[in-house]
Subunit: 130 residues, 2 copies
């Protein structure tokens, strides 16, 4: 598995990036995208479920980020029903699923940081095992 950036620059869907790291950060960077993908990694979710699970995100921002993820081919949007109440389900595309290893690496790194230098907080039950 190559872990060096290839080429002098790269192109994807008309956009130009100086290296593959830039490209990746453009696709999944920002405050919410990685978090949203994280919540979709094991199961598809309805819009309202995401709104509850993704902490503190506003409806508008969630909607906007989902649209960008859909446009970039990471997330699939499926509509069930025609008249309200409609049901909209989001899931990872095959392409989106290729991102899961990255997500898991980031998660375990983040966990490690907090274990060593930070603090976990649990509102409901205590956490004995990590």
């Amino acid at each position: 598995m190559k872990t060096e950036c290839i080429g002098d620059y790269v192109k994807l869907k008309g956009k130009v990036y100086p290296c593959t790291i830039s490209l990746a950060m453009d696709l999944i960077g920002g405050k919410w995208k990685a978090v949203i993908l994280y919540h979709l990694k094991d199961a598809e979710k309805r819009y309202s479920e995401l709104r509850k699970e993704v902490p503190n995100v506003t409806e508008m921002t969630l909607s906007l980020q989902l649209k960008q993820l859909e446009k970039d081919g990471l997330v699939l949007r499926k509509v069930h029903g025609k008249k309200p109440p409609i049901k909209v389900v989001y899931s990872l595309t095959d392409f989106g699923k290729t991102f899961i290893p990255v997500l898991e690496t980031i998660t375990s790194w983040g966990n490690q940081i907090v274990l060593e230098k930070g603090e976990f907080v649990n509102n409901s039950t205590c956490l004995n095992e990590i």
Copy 2:
């Protein structure tokens, strides 16, 4: 290693995050941080080297991002000499080095994307394609 976000929220250096993914994205998100870390992963670099290697970054932005990375404990700044010309060398801290696996996962993912859907460009060999 655990690849699920732990706890209801986490704290690090006084900041509060809803999950470890958010924390990680705050530390290494943005347009330049991951790219800078990438260029430091194998060797320490002088400021001027980074400016040349990190594509299209302005002096000011590079300086700012390095300061933030230093403040977050990912990067070490070492000054050699007192009067101009000074020599300033940046390197990864031990903490910064723990991020290398993430960086490599992101890189190989980015490479994979471009291999499948995008386009690598090499100035030396493909100058006429630009």
